[in-house]
């Protein structure tokens, strides 16, 4: 038994006939052919698979593809505009917010959700805000700096940022 779904992934309609048990993360990786959303635990405990579902961060290893039918998903691949990185991506790059990079897409998507809710977060807001995402490499300090860096950039109009570069 399969079900037809249409999921709008990074602005593109992705249609497939899927098993009802298919996890969203596997839909993104296998059906949509994207590699940025990682599987780190399959139990929603590590956050490596975090994506935005209609703008809100979810762990895509505990969402079924059929639950996302007709809805909009943003993955890490959908953040940059051409060569222009998203400020959160820039923040992670500039502050060395990643080492092995495996948790990074999930961290970035989780931070996206956090900064939507708290455009000007304190250190402890950030540490609490990303506590559903595990990183084994960085000790989190540079991730906190990366999110703050992004918050600064995002509170500055794009034109001013472009001028500053």
């Amino acid at each position: 038994m399969t079900k037809n779904v249409t999921i709008i992934v990074n602005g593109v309609d992705r249609r497939a006939s899927v098993e009802p048990r298919l996890l969203l993360v596997h839909f993104l990786r296998e059906n949509a052919g994207l590699t940025g959303t990682h599987v780190g635990c399959e139990t929603s405990l590590c956050g490596a698979c975090t994506v935005l579902l209609d703008g809100q961060a979810v762990k895509s290893c505990t969402v079924l593809a059929v639950q996302a039918d007709g809805r909009k998903i943003t993955t890490v691949e959908g953040l940059a505009t051409g060569d222009q990185l998203h400020p959160i991506q820039e923040g992670f790059w500039e502050e060395h917010g990643l080492q092995c990079g495996f948790c990074t897409p999930g961290m970035i998507m989780c931070s996206h959700d956090l900064l939507e809710r708290h455009p000007n977060p304190s250190d402890s807001d950030i540490r609490e805000g990303i506590n559903g995402n595990l990183c084994r490499c960085t000790g989190y300090q540079h991730i906190v700096a990366a999110v703050k860096n992004a918050a600064r950039k995002m509170s500055t109009p794009v034109a001013a940022r472009a001028g500053a570069r």
Binding site: G36, C41, C100, G101, N131, R136, G139
Partner: protein, 810 residues
Amino acid sequence: MATPAKSPVPRKKMNDKAGNGAWVGKRMKRKEDPRMIRGISHYTDDLKLAGMVHCAFARSPHAHAEIQAIRTDAAKALPRVIAVYTSADTTSLGPVPCAIQMPDLKIPRHPVLAEGRVRYVGEPVAVVVAEDFYTARDAAELVEVDYEPLPVVTDLEKALSKDSPLVHEQFKSNQAFTHQLKNGDVEAAFKKADRIVKQRMMNQRLAPIAMEPRAVVAEYLPGENRLTVWSSTQIPHLLKTQISLLVGLPETAVRVIAPEVGGGFGSKLNVYGEEGVVPWLAMKTGRPVKWNEGRRENFMATIHGRDALNDVELALKKDGTILGLRARVLADMGAYHQLLTPLIPQLTALMHAGCYKIPAIQIDIVGVFTNKMSTDAYRGAGRPEATFNVERIMELGAREMGMDPAEFRRKNFPLPKEFPYTTVTGLTYDSAKYQESLAKALKLSGYDSLRRRQKDGWKKGKYYGIGVSTYVEICAIGPSAATPAGGWESGTVRIEPTGKVTVLTGASPHGQGEETTFAQLVADQLGVDPQDVNVVHGDTLAVPYGIGTFGSRATAVGGTAIYMATQKLRTKLTTLAAHLLGSKPADISIGRGQLTAKGGKKIPFGELVLAAYTARNIPPGFEPALEATHFFEPSNFTFPFGCHVCSVEVDIETGEIKIEKYVAVDDCGNVINPLLVAGQIQGGIAQGLGQALWEEVIYNEDGQLVTGTLMDYAVPKAHFFPDFTLEHTVTPSPVNPMGVKGVGEAGTIASTPCIVNAVCDALSPLGVRHIEMPLKPERVWNAIQAARAVPAIAAAADVPPKKAAVRRRA
């Protein structure tokens, strides 16, 4: 074992030539990041090959059992299942290798799939190949196995008792090996000691938890006789050799690629049975095969770290001088040896001198088989265990002598002028200024005012503690004489005809950022931009044989190989430039983008490179093209060091610990990229604090893994930590021309005893002497209750530590 620390080549200042030195020492953003932050890099599980199928393993639910029958019919009958195999099919395959040789080491046969008996929970029993991943896992569940459970042993001491169940009956005991390291007159030291300080300490079992679980993809092309294996590994070349032995193909037919690797921490410094089975399946089925490990499998069947029971004794003179140290270590091997399992406790033995002058040391180690997953290298690999023993017993020594723990340490440091310093354990420490890092850390932490606040706090029922840990670690592993598989590293540098530079390194970075640091180092030596330097690693067909990334060796050994290769190229460049400019090689300087002769004649870098390739006008005997390879054999290890200080507050009603301040002063020699060094130290501290406070792999008495998910095993989260304050001192190593030491494990080694010292310090007036890790609130609370139950000690609740210690002894 270690030869005197002397570089084989003259040391040069790194930023030596005019126009050079632009990149080394800079906080350069990483070259590897753009692909990772866009989510377009490729880890093993991201690979898709035409016709690829998937496999899944059926694993033992028992810690020890006889396999009476395996029925695979139901699994085979599932649609889209291609094949199911058990050990009956894999007799030609394996065994899983152990690289360690010791006189009395017992090495049990370690089959890739269990043969007749299972010895730990998670041991693979059968493997299923199916068209898709979901079906493979479904079918693995359908493999039926009849088990006859056998008695289980998980406790180290019980395993050595006469009536213990045996993990391997043929050895007639669970003793895997014994190892003694003894030097100096230990008996005399303890005989003449004014005081002997003793403590038993359990260094608990940990799970490495790289965020990317293991994964393997294999493809076999019979026409070409070419087996290609992509694996999430730290050691692609060693793995290539071992896979050829596992599957029985000539090594020339095997290519291993380590694509993007999502962390290792030692867990991928190994050769696993799955890395033999998956290639074998590809050969057997004629289809590319993928296996990706689930997190639950990762907990059960990827190596664990630590797990050693330590009885440590320190012999002291009245004035606080150390006379000797003795330790008995029971080290849990698990059920089988993985690649380096029996080696890890030997590193522990070696590092028991710490950064102190200890004239007599005796370490006795017993390796023990139990019904658990194998232990092996986990970040620090033997050194954190040694440092924990040393730094805890130093702390207790200071307390018992009534001395300040910082002062007690300083008193026993070798002086800077005593380096290279040879320890009684036989190591030659290359260079250090322990006094300087200690002084800096004390100042930065405000140590004196922390002590004052502590005293005031005790009067008010507030329990502040200060922990100090001064450490030395053994890095840049290492001279080949001291390593099981060669301790050198390879580096090739090729200036392409267009002037771009390709670097091939035998190191295998998996998060450390050597695509950036090696580019920085090459850019300075050749006068090019690091963006024009492409560092290639992890592909055995592209890169000359190498050893890999572990033991904080990539930069100090692999980086030096590249540095040496650049020196060969500098000679070629100046020779050719001199020829073309009518000058002498010694009079040519390499600057940014051009070479200049004394007197001012110049040739652009690109033009010179092209001349080396067109080779129409080259001096006699000059080899065309611009490529150089160096295999660097280090003369010694390097010994980074430092001092960490932290302050905590303990809530004695709940046992909760608040980390208030954490200061780390580390010395890893010369620094190529300070941003990346900070990242290594911060991550290391977090992992070390993870062991001290939260992490613990627990098997129950039946050998069931109780902490088998991330819900049960507490990998630290962001809000567990404050910001760490980092500083450093710079003491270049004389062992390599760049003066670098390595920094991958420092944080993990120093931080664990630092915070345990702080917590025990906070609770010292209550009579708490030691708490076993992890210092979970429940344990801390119980330790407080137990100490309070002793009346003499309860009365000491508000006296300073010196008196409390005296009363406790009374």
